[in-house]
């Protein structure tokens, strides 16, 4: 059973398009995250939701909008895609939002390529 799943695994699209990446976790966790890993392999947090409420919102362009229909899902919608958005996007979840001892479980990643 996949703990944190993402779809699609690969996404190739043209500049200016709008696309969504879906994430689901079956761990019963309260908190979910989106991370971006760029070509230099740096992994940076973008957003975090706890029980469908936004709790972390890093400096991310307004073109990125996370949506959490329920605590098991956190989708990422990106408007007007730009070349610089090309990266691997990872979804993650943790049992709670508090505490450095709370292990985060990552999904397999979605490789987005903007042409």
């Amino acid at each position: 059973d996949t703990a944190v799943s993402q779809t699609p695994k690969y996404l190739v699209t043209q500049m200016g398009n709008d696309k969504s990446i879906k994430c689901e976790q079956n761990l019963g966790h309260d908190t979910m995250y989106w991370y971006k890993q760029d070509s230099k392999k740096f992994l940076k947090i973008m957003f975090s939701y706890n029980n469908k409420e936004l709790i972390i919102n890093e400096t991310v362009p307004n073109r990125f909008s996370p949506k959490s229909p329920d605590k098991a899902h956190l989708n990422l919608h990106i408007n007007s895609l730009e070349l610089g958005d090309s990266a691997v996007y990872f979804c993650a979840s943790s049992l709670t939002a508090g505490g450095g001892t709370d292990t985060q479980y990552f999904g397999p990643g979605t490789r987005l390529t903007v042409l």
Binding site: F42, A97, G99, G100, Q104, G109
Partner: protein, 111 residues
Amino acid sequence: LAKTTQPISMDSYEGQEVNITCSHNNIATNDYITWYQQFPSQGPRFIIQGYKTKVTNEVASLFIPADRKSSTLSLPRVSLSDTAVYYCLLLRDSSASKIIFGSGTRLSIRP
């Protein structure tokens, strides 16, 4: 959050013990030393976490000196499948946990 410093890359051979050291001179009292592993084309995976002294699990050991200004991840008898990037992180025991990943250590294991 305090910064960590670790080697950019390391090479070793199958069957060897590998030790990756991480420096964190400005570690705070409520920071936990945590290591994640990332295989190519996969998301990071939690390996081990500790506060002080030594922690051991089925994957690795973590050695933390009394001053906590550094830590060493020890991988016993590595295999080719241990080739990955290893991240040393300081996670604060407070609300809204946020992981800040550095560049990590790229470990390459050779036959």
